[in-house]
Symmetry: C6
């Protein structure tokens, strides 16, 4: 099993997620009340993910097959939470119309449902992929060209502005890793075992970036802003 | 089991409820004392529901039948708690006669007892449904046309007023999902397995809305009002 | 087991007691120091009862017989705690002679010992019942006509006064449910299974009222008085 | 087992001890720093005793024999802790020479070693009893006629003075129950089963008084004094 | 097993260590920040020791042989921690050269390695004993005649000074019990079972003194000094 | 197993890591907010390491072979955390370009990947060793001659400056122990069992220094600086 890199990566990330959860919850007590919610949410994202990673690792080690159900359950809870983070940051800058939030949610849902029907075999993998891509494209449209993009006014403190930008790029670059994983997992035509390994390794790496690094960005703004206020 | 959407939804919601519980209890420490109780109650609702969802999932996965008993026990505890939330919000606006609270309780009891005698087979499903509907109709009457409706005076802070309105619509629209679930579960005449699946999926979705979203609305008022006071 | 209403009620109440315990302990941090003790005691009452309800449910589900021993152990700890609550409220009003407390305790002991010797079969059910009734009558005498009754002077804050009155009626009306339970359990001559069911259902309902509702009354005074003081 | 009063009393007291521990540790946060130590110690006494009562009950239920070893281990830890409580109260009144503390400790050790060699059969029960009595007598001498007795000067606050007096009487009257237990357990010549039952029932009742009631007295002074200081 | 005094003493001390750990961690919140570290360390000493005592008792009860490995692992962690305590107290008095700390550590290591090679049979028991004694002698030299001894200037508060002195005597008298244990365990030539019993009883008694009593001395200074500062 | 020094060292270090974790998290509450993060990270390092040491010990005791996978997973999480510590200290001195951090990370990755491919047998042990050494050399270059080295301006408080220096030497001297371990484990040509023992003992000792001692240095600066500010 020293060769089972997928299994190792599940374990590695479980541990990192547990540590991140502890980190976010502990650090919560040193930021100002307003930012506490953001850290609570970051900690919940990693907590929920940690639980699912333990289950996913068990499935992988016991059966060698991709734990699709657990992964999508995890995403269904954590992606909306990330969207909420986004929204909380936006709200720290300006009054944000509720519609922005719901449009982001719909984009998310289309993206994840697309992915799931493909991975679970309800739809051919290519059409499902395209549905998922449309959902994601819609989110990108919303935050780069839609209403949400206009909000990031210059009135916001510098650290918040830059956090918003970084998060925008995470949703672009960081999230792009997931469809790449899907691609190597289902669309290359290579043998199932290799595909499964590629799929999970890539998804796992993407999760580190999009769950832990995302949380750390939030934490960084939270601490900077809280100290500024004193 | 990637096809067992009901089982998946039980799991998904258990996780979301656990996360919500952590969220409400953690956020409790940043609102003013008066609102702490509301968050305590929101957290208790999701905590109790989380426990019952774990049990319900076990029943479902092991036997494939509807876990009626656990669901009604859950409702019997959480619906009164939601009524208490309602009452706490109302009391934040004006002195509310105790009678309002008790009338809401009676409506709840009639509604749930109606549902249970139908689902557990003590009464034919149609008459039981009607009893339940009467209980619910009474609650709606009370909050839209009865004494409770008159309380929501304009003197209340804006965010409280709008919370009251949202909650009123949750009890109307959000709760309406439950009888729809009952309808698809018992009154369409389709085969038992499909009915059971429909019933549980619909009830579960309704619970997400009425437990978690309801709690988030409370949390939102609590935070807004607490910050306003500083 | 959807028909085993006694078993269901044990489960239902266990859950409600757990939730109440969490509630009392969480709310404890928002009342003034003086009232913290009252909430501690309320929380202990429900905590101890929760533990015993889990055991009682196990006994009931496994054997179908009445868990007399656990119930009386529970009462032997929780009734004195309720008496202490009573005494704490009284002391918040006026200097209360210690004798009041001890007389209430003796009444309690006579009442519970009477009940136990009857239910466990050491004495015929009727004479035991009468002994228990005498104990209870003595408590009622003490709080309505004895020394304790005279203490509730008009000098006390309004909410405390009304709490005292409510508690007085709980000891009268709320506690009256227990002998009714005993009556249906042992003195009607109907068949053992039905009697056992009636007995436990009635006792359980009484416990909800006398443990949880009692605690909520205390909590209500505690919160009202704490806020008044600010 | 509804007839196994000894077993019932072990269970009953375990529960009461757990509740007391929770009580003392929770209440600790509302007294002034100086009195926190006293409540810590009271809580430790009941915590340690709770653990040992669970073990003692297991021994009793499984074998029907007296759990002598666990009981004396418990006493060996808790009696010195009670002595420390005593000393802490004394020190709250006046500078107490360290020798007082050590003399009380020696008396305790003689008393408990005497009891153990008798109960475990290393010495005939009568001589062992007398050794134990001498140890206890020495403690009584120390606190009624020796150096400790002179300390309780009138300069101390009233509640502390009266606490000191109550504790003195607990050591006299409350502790007197233990040798009575020993007497009924070993010196009456009745049959072993009855003796064992009598012994354990009496010891258990004595523990309620000397552990829980003792702690409540401390708690009462702590609360009274802490409030006085504000 | 009422005759297995060694086993009893393991149990007794485990309990006392658990209680001490709770005590030090609870009391930590009432001393000034500076002294918190000292209490943290005291609590860690007893916590680690408690864990090892549970393991040691298991070994003893199961095999009747001396749990040498666990004991020395325990010492290897706790003795340096005690040295750190010492150093913290010294630093509270004056700027202490780091060299003092390292020399104490080397002495400790020589002492414990000497003891272990003797007890585990790598070296004859006498030469090993002498190596251990040399290590200890070196520590005594350092604190009575070496650099550390000169530090205890008169500028320190009285309670700190006297604590330093007491700790010095604990290292002399308290630690002297260990070589005595070693002597009775290996150097008297009596039969193995008796030697093992003697060894463990003596080591256990020594641990009570050097772990719990040592911690209480620290706690006493911490509380006294913290109150003085107010 | 008193001769299994490797197993003993795993146990010993697990315990020490648990104690350190408790220490860092407890002490966290007495430093100023800014330094809390550093202690959180130190505590996470020892927490994660503690978990992995328990697993490693199990592998070692059960199979007698080197737990390479767990060790490298541990390093992959904890070394970046140490780098973060480094970076946090640097940031406390001056504005540090993000590039420094990423270059340190890359060096770390090269070093660890080099080591793993060698130990897990993907590459011959010598070339893998050289790759690892290059990664480490790069880190040393960065902190002694690169951008990071220039940051340690004289403007920083003395304790921070000296901490930076100490950490620099830990990365040089402390980390040098690991390649020595690798050398004795794979490059001496001695028999497998001895090599494995040497490897693990050396790695374990190195971890004590680089995890616990490193954390204590951080803690020391944190406390000193926090007190200075008052
Ligand atoms: C576009 C696309 C996908 C995108 C998935 C994404 C973007 C998931 C993000 C998950 C996150 C951010 C989790 C964090 O906790 C799929 C479904 C793989 C396949 C279909 C095409
Ligand atoms: C009207 C009606 C029903 C309504 C149930 C409702 C409204 C349940 C609400 C539950 C909630 C809000 C739980 C939250 O925790 C039944 C009994 C299904 C069937 C009979 C007709
Ligand atoms: C009068 C009477 C009884 C009363 C019992 C009562 C009043 C119990 C109260 C329990 C409470 C209040 C528990 C709360 O935690 C018995 C023993 C049933 C039978 C004999 C007559
Ligand atoms: C005099 C005497 C005894 C006294 C025991 C006592 C006084 C025990 C007290 C225990 C307490 C107070 C525990 C509280 O936690 C023995 C040994 C039974 C027998 C010999 C004579
Ligand atoms: C001198 C000497 C010894 C001393 C041991 C000591 C002094 C141990 C102290 C342990 C403590 C203080 C633990 C506290 O947690 C040995 C090794 C028994 C034998 C060799 C001679
Ligand atoms: C140079 C080198 C190595 C260095 C490893 C190091 C330096 C590990 C540090 C670990 C730490 C500091 C952990 C703390 O938690 C290897 C991979 C052994 C072998 C190849 C050459």
């Amino acid at each position: 099993e020293p060769n089972d890199f997928v299994g190792i990566s599940f374990w590695l990330i479980s541990m990192a997620l547990v540590a991140s959860t502890a980190f976010f919850f502990l650090e919560r007590d040193r930021v100002s009340p307003k930012w506490k919610t953001s850290l609570t949410v970051s900690g919940l994202v990693t907590l929920i993910a940690a639980v699912h990673y333990f289950y996913m690792r068990d499935v992988w080690v016991a059966t060698g097959s991709t734990p699709t159900v657990y992964r999508y359950i995890d995403w269904l809870i954590t992606v909306p939470l990330l969207m909420i983070e986004f929204y909380l940051i936006l709200s720290a800058i300006a009054k944000v119309p509720g519609g922005v939030f719901w449009r982001l949610m719909i984009g998310t849902l289309v993206m994840l449902v697309g992915g799931y029907v493909g991975e679970a075999g309800y739809l051919a993998v290519w059409p499902a992929f395209i549905i998922g891509m449309i959902g994601w494209a819609y989110i990108l449209y919303e935050i780069f060209a839609g209403e949400a993009s206009k909000i990031n006014a210059n009135s916001a403190p510098k650290s918040v502005q830059s956090a918003f930008n970084t998060m925008r790029w995470i949703v672009t670059i960081g999230w792009a890793i997931y469809p790449i994983g899907y691609f190597f997992g289902y669309l290359t035509g290579s043998n199932p075992a290799d595909s499964a390994a590629a799929l999970n390794i890539i998804y796992n790496l993407a999760d580190v970036l999009n769950k832990i690094a995302f949380g750390l960005i939030i934490w960084n703004v939270a601490v900077t802003e809280s100290e500024a206020k004193h």
